[in-house]
Symmetry: C2
Subunit: 129 residues, 2 copies
């Protein structure tokens, strides 16, 4: 299984990272995700990392890259499900995940995405006018 599946939920995309990331897989994920943001006209990307025991600088950079690419394509990225121990290690390592928004879980992440969109475009998430 060489690719991480990307699930479409309404106008959002959900990715669950369950396997150890390596260079090739991270690149494939970035490629797939950016393509899907465009083809599915996604306005938000949720990345669940609840299965990860550790987030090192490599994963941190990958998450930052994805968030940056998605932002250019007009989609917001939210990392959800981080374990408390991961947060502790990140701060201890001096990694603050710049440019990455986080939420407790998928539900909260989706709320955040919806409210971000509503704030931009009006109170019902659609473009005004």
């Amino acid at each position: 299984m060489e690719r991480i599946p990307i699930l479409k939920m309404g106008s959002f995309l959900l990715v669950t990272i369950q396997v150890d990331m390596h260079d090739q897989l991270a690149l494939a994920l970035q490629d797939d995700l950016t393509s899907r943001v465009v083809s599915d006209r996604a306005t938000g990307v949720l990345i669940d990392i609840s299965a990860l025991d550790i987030v090192d600088s490599f994963i941190g950079r990958m998450l930052g890259n994805i968030a940056g690419m998605a932002r250019i394509l007009d989609a917001e990225t939210i990392v959800v499900g981080m374990r408390p121990s991961v947060a502790i290690t990140l701060v201890e390592l001096g990694l603050s995940l710049p440019g990455i928004r986080t939420a407790l879980n998928v539900d909260r992440g989706m709320e955040l995405l919806r409210s971000a969109r509503n704030g931009e475009t009006g109170d019902d998430g659609r473009q005004i006018g």
Copy 2:
């Protein structure tokens, strides 16, 4: 990473199977999922198998077990994202996945779960009275 993460989305649970299943992992998933159905009061379980290249009798049985357990706990299970090649192989192997409902993708699966609930309880998914 010895456990498959279970994501809560509203009153549904979502599981994405990305890794090769073996006995222990399947048992752990059944345990976790039934516990979560109860603790999260979930009414539906979505299992995404879009990452699977093959569904053999072992995985078929596991999916059937999960659907059966969830049903007893008053939750509906829907398998989503099956690849066309997997469907072909399943039928050729004589495996028809009895007792398992399927949907094209997560969006359709959630629609199916919502309409199943509405059909049971009234037109807005809540218990009447």
